[in-house]
């Protein structure tokens, strides 16, 4: 296969925030420094090289960029200070933009002002829309679903979910097609190989790595971990993710309990009540994680957090607002007297959360999807290559 150079890509990459990409002289320090890279998945240099030469298909078909957790060690040691970690982040941004065929992702990555505006407008739209459906604000106790009818939120939520799911599937499809093309992945890659290959890969891609943060925890920034665990990079990332998932789980459980008729959604329950317990813990973790991330980026504490692009801020802001408002609502819910601001906070929370979810395939949030897909392909054991029998003997 001949690869034709495309000089425009590197300039493009700079627009995605790859500040140092042109400085790289391909010494390989970054790749050899990275503890996550391996001979089947080499990065960051491979990604940098593809971007330097403009090999778009190879970049968009690569799973490598999603295996990176942005620990920043490569940038710390780079002899040219080409910021490889930052280039990896830019590559992810570039991929998010390109997998999304709707063009919305492009706005968030390339035209951050518009992206930000979209997020704000969307939140206002959701808020205003729900506000039109408002009913009563009880001051006796915080009866949130008397304020905005539960059915309405539910329906709106489902509509948003379906739209998001459609857009996500489309983007994932794009990704898979490109990845399959670039890496010669066929159905046989999934079904062939070791028995239960697809299942073990799935287990690894969904549970062990993202949920367990295995490699991030064990292989990435080991020195960092030795310091204080609650400030280590993997834990902050894990706290954010676990917290978020905890909140989602709590919401889902709450809903589930209503369906099975145990309790009404939104009804005040004791602290030990599982959905509430999960929700409170999740909220705490989530708020902690996102806050630390924001502070790190704001203070540019290390190489990995030095080059924040607007899409990072939009994503973190959405996360933070949805988390913190949810938490405040939670507090309001258990105050002896229901404060009026609790209703407004609830409205705010629902709008921001919906915006966050709605924008999932288009913002940095999309990494949660692509990373799982990439991890899945990465975890597939290769189909053993059977050497064709040599004709005759020498």
């Amino acid at each position: 296969m001949t690869n034709r150079v495309d000089p425009t890509l590197m300039r493009d990459f700079k627009k995605y925030g790859a500040v140092g990409i042109e400085k790289c002289f391909n010494c390989g320090t970054c790749t050899a420094t990275c503890s996550l890279t391996s001979n089947d998945s080499q990065f960051p240099r491979r990604i940098i090289r593809m971007a330097q030469l403009g090999l778009r298909d190879q970049i968009l078909g690569s799973k490598e960029m999603w295996l990176c957790y942005n620990c920043g060690k490569c940038s710390e040691t780079c002899p040219k200070q080409a910021e490889p970690a930052n280039i990896m982040a830019a590559a992810r941004c570039y991929a998010i933009t390109n997998y999304d065929t709707l063009g919305i992702g492009r706005l968030f990555c390339r035209v951050p002002l518009v992206g930000g505006l979209i997020a704000v407008l969307l939140a206002i739209f959701f808020g205003a829309f729900m506000y039109t459906q408002r009913e009563t604000m009880s001051t006796e106790s915080l009866k949130l679903f008397n304020f905005i009818p539960y059915e309405f939120i539910h329906t709106a939520g489902i509509v948003v979910m379906i739209l998001v799911a459609l857009a996500s599937l489309l983007a994932i499809f794009n990704m898979v097609v490109r990845m399959a093309r670039a890496n010669d992945i066929t159905i046989k890659t999934i079904t062939g190989g070791a028995r239960m290959n697809w299942l073990t890969a799935f287990w690894d891609a969904v549970v062990v790595q993202p949920l367990g943060q295995k490699r991030y925890r064990e292989e990435c920034d080991i020195e960092e971990n030795r310091r204080v665990w609650y400030l280590s990079k993997w834990f902050i990332h894990a706290a954010t993710m676990w917290g978020f998932l905890g909140l989602v789980l709590a919401t889902a459980l709450d809903y589930l309990l209503e369906i099975v008729g145990v309790k009404a959604t939104g009804a005040a329950v004791p602290i030990w009540y599982p959905p509430r317990l999960i929700g409170t813990l999740g909220g705490l973790l989530f708020t902690y994680g996102v806050t630390v991330l924001l502070v790190k980026r704001w203070r540019a504490v290390d190489k990995a957090h030095s080059y924040s692009r607007p899409s990072d801020w939009i994503f973190l802001a959405l996360l933070w607002f949805s988390g913190i408002t949810g938490f405040i609502v939670e507090i309001a819910l258990y105050l002896p007297r229901a404060p009026i601001w609790g209703y407004w906070m609830f409205l705010f929370h629902v709008s921001v959360s919906m915006t966050l979810i709605f924008l999932l395939p288009f913002t940095k949030f999309a990494h949660s999807l692509y990373r799982v897909v990439a991890l899945y392909f990465h975890a597939l054991k290769p189909v053993p290559v059977i050497e064709p029998a040599k004709a005759g003997t020498d």
Partner: protein, 435 residues
């Protein structure tokens, strides 16, 4: 001491300084050669063999040292430090500190009786602290002058040497003395130091047992070296596999040194070739980014090394750690294939680069790289920012021996022209010079 008048004062008795002094002396100028150490010879005399001819290094250096010592027009001041340099007309008043040797060099015959008698063993900087010598000693076997020197830091003042000395040369009462030389011109030949790697924690920050600097390897390979063979400093084992980490102190912004040190590729290849001879069974691998064998005969030298079986791998070594047996382990991406390897070696040499040596007190404008600034390299490559002061060798940036020697002769030409055009010598004397 009386004030002295010289046509030129050369600071630094390494190969560049010696060559400048010889070229000026050969033209009939009176030259003072001031050296900080007790012997001239500089870095070069500590090397094993030199590229690309693989001549034994002392075969080239010692005759020059000898020629300097015997030259009627060259006045040697060893173990001296420059204190200050003041303009004086077109020339300079140079104040020099003679450090006490505690040995009267007019009496010492270099018989080494004191050295044999001395009970104190101290690490020898000549051998990069790999070997040891005595608190009183002739600095090394081919030292010029062949005179003993006592190291007061370690001396117990037991007086054994004094009793043993057959010519009563030991003089514990010596004090530092300052004297002044009036010189019409100055040549800076102050040389280099290795780039420090203590800040490079990825390479062990100088704490790994079997990771050494290239000058240590030179001492291992030198026939006059401390052990007479190549071994691991960690445990004395003979290494079966040796790796060279190129650009371990150059072209690296994390060290703050962005320039190329120019000599490391060639010395690594040279050492690899010599190791091939010394340890024929050893595997030698050189990890590099660009092989810079640019000089006359250098490219062929590189090709010969390849043909000889030295393994060249492109990729900058990312990190070095050691295993339980103190074997260094390198991690590197072999960029030709993208393969990431962790390779265990018995011995690793960090190809450290060149930084300016700590300067004597001659205030001169420096370049952004820390070396003495040469404002017009493409019209006057040896002229510094201060009239009458010239620079040569590695004081003006990384340079190999061949280039240093040529540059030394060039500096001599500049200095001699300056002396003729501006010097304070009487016209009569100038005429007499070439009569």
């Amino acid at each position: 001491m009386d004030d002295l008048h010289m046509d030129a004062l050369v600071i630094g008795g390494g190969i560049a300084g010696m060559q400048s002094a010889l070229d000026l002396g050969d033209q009939g100028f009176q030259v003072a050669l001031v050296e900080r150490d007790p012997s001239i010879g500089g870095r070069m005399i500590t090397l094993s063999k030199v590229f690309p001819t693989l001549d034994c290094c002392s075969c080239i250096t010692t005759p020059k040292m000898s020629a300097v010592a015997h030259h009627p027009n060259i006045h040697l001041y060893t173990y001296c430090e420059i204190q200050s340099v003041q303009e004086h007309g077109a020339g300079f008043d140079v104040s020099i500190l003679q450090k006490p040797r505690y040995v009267d060099i007019s009496k010492c015959t270099g018989c080494r009786e004191c050295e044999y008698e001395c009970p104190i063993t101290v690490p020898s900087p000549f051998d990069r602290n790999l070997g040891a010598y005595r608190a009183i000693r002739v600095p090394f076997s081919t030292a010029v002058p062949q005179k003993a020197v006592l190291d007061p830091e370690y001396c117990l003042w037991c007086g054994k040497c004094e009793q043993k000395c057959p010519v009563e040369a030991i003089d514990f009462s010596q004090q530092p003395e300052t004297f002044t030389i009036e010189a019409d011109s100055i040549i800076m030949a102050t040389g280099f130091d290795l780039t420090p790697v203590s800040t490079k924690k990825e390479y062990g920050a100088g704490k790994l047992h079997n990771v050494i600097d290239p000058l240590m390897m030179e001492r291992f390979l030198a026939p006059t070296g401390p052990y007479g063979r190549v071994l691991r400093p960690g445990d004395g084992k003979e290494p079966g596999s040796i790796a060279y980490v190129q650009c371990a102190g150059s072209r690296d912004e994390t060290l703050g040194i962005t320039y190329c040190s120019r000599v490391c590729c060639m010395y690594a290849i040279k050492q690899a070739m010599l190791l091939n001879g010394a340890l024929p069974m050893a595997d030698i691998t050189i990890y590099y980014m660009d092989i810079r064998t640019f000089g006359k005969g250098y490219e062929q030298f590189y090709q010969n090394a390849k043909a000889m079986g030295v393994n060249f791998v492109r990729g900058k070594v990312a990190s070095i750690r050691e295993d339980a047996d103190q074997n260094p382990i390198l991690k590197v991406e072999m960029t030709d294939t993208g393969e990431i390897v962790e390779q265990t070696f018995d011995l690793v040499v960090l190809s450290q680069g060149i930084v300016p040596a700590s300067h004597p007190t001659v205030s001169l404008p420096l370049g952004s790289d820390g070396f003495i600034s040469v404002p017009a390299p493409d019209s006057a490559p040896c002229v510094t920012g201060r009239p009458g002061i010239f620079v040569t060798g590695t004081a003006a940036g990384p340079m190999d021996i061949v280039d240093s020697i040529v540059s030394a002769s060039a500096a001599a030409a500049e200095a001699s022209a300056y002396i003729r055009e501006n010097g304070s010598r009487l016209e009569v004397e100038k005429e007499a010079l070439y009569a």
